[in-house]
């Protein structure tokens, strides 16, 4: 029975390795991040509760097992977030299960038709899968939960969320997409990339900045999924791995800043470059990777994605612009948090800081080989790419980074320019759902407690039934 339930293939092993690396790094980081011994114990236990279902989901052969394991891992994440912020955790759980509702319909259809993972789903079932998995993968319109949840969860949990949990959605999209370009996923990816990049530039809260940057990078991955070729799939998985690891690193960094300075607000942070040298060095590496400077694993993975999207020049242009935005927002994080006037630190416990830095170093150790041997992972996935470091690509990436610096400089002159409009647009979906939830009030009013009302309602309903039946 085991062989019927689980399948091992390169495209599943890679995310599993990513999960393993992130869980290991989070465990190490969590030892330093959580001050209370019982918190540390709970975190370790919940990490295991998260890790094993995730492995089950990645290696499952059929959709039902995948669904069951993903639900269980969602519950584990919920418990991790609930230890800090109960209301946010509950909203996260509700949204994820709502997405699961749509996914379940698709899973039911696939189970009846006997379709396993990585076989394209029939057209009729595709909307359920895309919408259901899209909630996890933060497709536009379904992404409204991400900034709040990833921004307010504890740092190691945010690392897991941004680094891995959203990637399960992408993995599912890969498992269901057809081998032809998807004119839904491609524009969605481009939109996510642009939206995420520029919203992250506007943020004051460092973790929200990183959360929007996750949306942006997910856009790259979703578009690569949508390209429909096996090259696209390999590019998507490569960027998933790289982004997962480096987003973990960045959230760890944000957590260190939060613990040392006592705040997440970029306006109140500053001067950490001299106060936290190791963290700063690792941040530089991570930021360079996100921006995609030559020599980093991010350069290779973005190069692959751009290669996969060669057939769509308009989209490639959008991603170029998005890259500029990403560069700008990370220059912002760097200059605000690490540069500038040195702010007062709250308390600086060397022991714990060392453990937190160790977590970041763990991820660096995993990423460094990818920087040195960029061709290794694509080869594992069955794709051969030789010209990573062509002159054109290097020039392009350095140019976009420079543009990003210019954009940041211009933005700092007039910071309030897009802020109000874009922030208002983003909150709209969440507000709509909140008002929709007020429907329960009507129900409650009907249960008045008066027998007269009950009898009247029952009689009326019997009458209506009579009408329906004898129509």
């Amino acid at each position: 029975m085991i062989s019927a339930l689980f399948v091992v293939a390169p495209q599943r092993v890679l995310p599993a390795l990513l999960a393993g690396a992130l869980v290991g790094a989070s465990a190490l980081y969590g030892e330093g991040y959580f001050g209370d011994a019982s918190e540390r114990r709970a975190f370790r236990a919940l990490l295991l509760c998260f890790f094993f279902p995730v492995l089950g989901a990645l290696f499952s052969a059929g959709w039902l097992e995948f669904f069951v394991f993903v639900e269980v891992s969602t519950v584990a994440l919920f418990l991790m977030i609930a230890r800090k912020r109960r209301d946010v955790a509950l909203r996260y759980l509700a949204v994820q299960f709502a997405g699961a509702s749509l996914l379940l319909a698709g899973v039911a259809g696939a189970t009846m038709a006997g379709i396993p993972l990585f076989v394209p789903a029939p057209r009729g079932l595709l909307p359920f899968f895309i919408l259901g998995l899209g909630v996890k993968a933060a497709l536009p319109g379904l992404h409204f939960w991400l900034p709040e949840v990833h921004g307010t969860a504890p740092a190691p949990v945010s690392a897991l969320l941004s680094g891995f949990a959203v990637k399960i959605g992408v993995f599912g999209l890969l498992a269901v997409s057809a081998h032809e370009p998807s004119y839904l996923l491609l524009p969605a990816g481009a939109f996510m990339a642009l939206w995420g990049a520029f919203m992250s530039l506007l943020q004051q809260d460092v973790k929200r900045l990183l959360a929007y940057s996750t949306i942006s990078q997910l856009g790259y991955i979703v578009a690569a999924c949508g390209a429909g070729t096996s090259f696209g799939v390999a590019a998507a998985l490569y960027h998933t791995t790289v982004h997962g690891l480096l987003k973990g690193m960045l959230f760890f960094c944000a957590g260190i800043l939060e613990k040392v300075y006592g705040t997440k607000n970029l306006n109140e942070l500053g001067g950490a470059a001299t106060a936290l040298p190791v963290t700063f060095a690792l941040f530089l590496f991570a930021a360079a990777t996100v921006i995609g400077l030559p020599g980093t694993p991010g350069f290779a993975s973005k190069g692959l994605i751009k290669g996969a999207l060669e057939a769509f020049p308009l989209l490639s242009f959008c991603f170029l612009i998005a890259n500029v935005g990403t560069a700008a927002s990370f220059f912002k994080m760097g200059t605000f948090a690490f540069g500038g006037v040195r702010k007062r630190t709250r308390d600086n416990i060397p022991e714990r800081l060392r453990l937190m830095n160790a977590g970041m170093l763990f991820i660096f150790a995993v990423l460094a080989p990818l920087a040195l041997f960029p061709g290794m992972l694509p080869l594992f996935l069955g794709v051969r790419e030789t010209s990573f470091y062509s002159a054109a690509k290097c020039a392009e990436s350095i140019f976009t980074a420079a543009c990003g610096a210019v954009v940041l400089y211009a933005y700092q002159k007039r910071p309030e320019f897009g802020e109000r409009l874009l922030n208002r647009l983003d909150g709209r979906t969440e507000r709509f759902l909140r008002t929709a939830g007020k429907g329960s009030l009507l129900m409650r009013r009907m249960q008045s407690g008066l027998l007269r009302g009950y009898l009247f309602a029952a009689a009326l309903a019997a009458l209506v039934l009579m009408v329906f039946f004898s129509w």
């Binding site: 069951v68 759980l93 299960f97 379940l104 009950y454 029952a458 019997a462 004898s470």
Partner: protein, 501 residues
Amino acid sequence: MFFPDEWMLYSILFPMTAAFVLQLLHHFAPARTRRWILLSCAVTAAITFGAAVSACFGARVLRVGGWSAELGILLVTDPLSAVFLFISAFGGAAAVWTTFGPGSAGGKDGWRLCGLFFILWSSLNGILATGDLFNLFVFFEILAVSAYVLTGASMTREALEAGLKYLVLGTVGALLILLGMTMLYMGAGILNFALLSAAVGSIPRGGLAAASAFMVAGLGLKMGMVPFHFWLPDAHSSASTGVSMLLSGVVVKASFYALLRVTTLLFPSVQVGFSVQEILLALGILSLFTGHLSAQRQTGIKRMLAWSTVAHMGYLLVGIGLGSPMGVAGALLHSLNHAAAKTALFLGAGSFSTLAGSKEWRSFSGLGRRFPLQGAAFLLLAASIIGLPPLGGFWGKWMIVLAAMEEGRWMTAVSIELGTVLSCIYYVPVLLEMYTPLRGAGALGGGSFHSGRIFVALATTPLLFALFYFVPAMKDFLLAAGEWALTPALYTKAVLGSMIP
């Protein structure tokens, strides 16, 4: 197979007799009453279980008094009633044990209620075993009277008011059932299910449609279908623990069984604007959303659980409304799960309320930590009822979702799972409050968890029922029961075939 047909009859007669004999026995040996009550409970449960097992493999027919089908009363059990007889056996036993078991208050003065408990149990078995329409009505009336009195038995103002509302609305329901039954009798001249099912074609369409409307309304009211559900939250939340367990866990399921039997045997061909099944589907989805949305604002734990019952009855209606064996099988599995889980949840809620001193769930702060085993049991049961895979509660819903997608009704499928989302929203804060209270655990009076052992025993059911989906024999049994439900010809043949002298 091993049990003779008479066990169906004994499952009705024994508790009825016990109800009266126990009152007499108390007169002669008051100190031993509790022991006698528990003994009767065990025997009734065993007989009902035996009747259920005997029915698992095929229909069993008993002609009471030897009269033939046209004149007399037949008792018929088949795989479909077997499922509900299991529920009756275990749910009834759990309720009686909670109220009269060792360590409960029921032993001293509350023993008087034992009569009503057993009469209720006997009428439940009667509904599940009967093969005759009027007999069904009679047992419903017996059930109703004992249920109304038991609801108000704790004699608080709330309970009396709830009992009165249940009485009035329940009588309206009985009136509707009687009306429907009368129209069927006027049209066909028979009251036996099997014969009526064969003769239903001779009833004029208008009359049949009207009769079906009345029956659905009446039985739906007994079951807590929206928009006839208004009595349910009041009654189930105001009753004492044992009574709530029985009402929410078993009584509504028996009413559901009656609805299932009547609609599939007598009204499968009613198709005017909409078929009966489509209407049940629509009402099921309405119940689902009403129940879950109304439960969200509740501060009292028992009221919340009562609204959750309304919602889960909606799932059952959706299951039968889909009209496929998989759908009915899903509804049956969900009945089993819900009966076990809701019975246990009411038991847990009652015990936690006593410990916390209040029925508000916000007062349960830290109880999960003080009673780790019972807290974990409550957690498991709540997770199962929410519908989290891989616990038992998920698999019933999964089968219903499969059936819905089979028919192409994707909105139904999505609604079923949305129920999981909506139930998370109100169950999870309770669980969180029990384990990680917002304002520190209150310094509450001591005391132990009442009926802890039954509670923990019932809490193994979420894991147990998950097996139903995976063990092929059990899954086939459920699908076979679904087939039985949807094919009136099988039932008719089984009953009338045994009529040949």
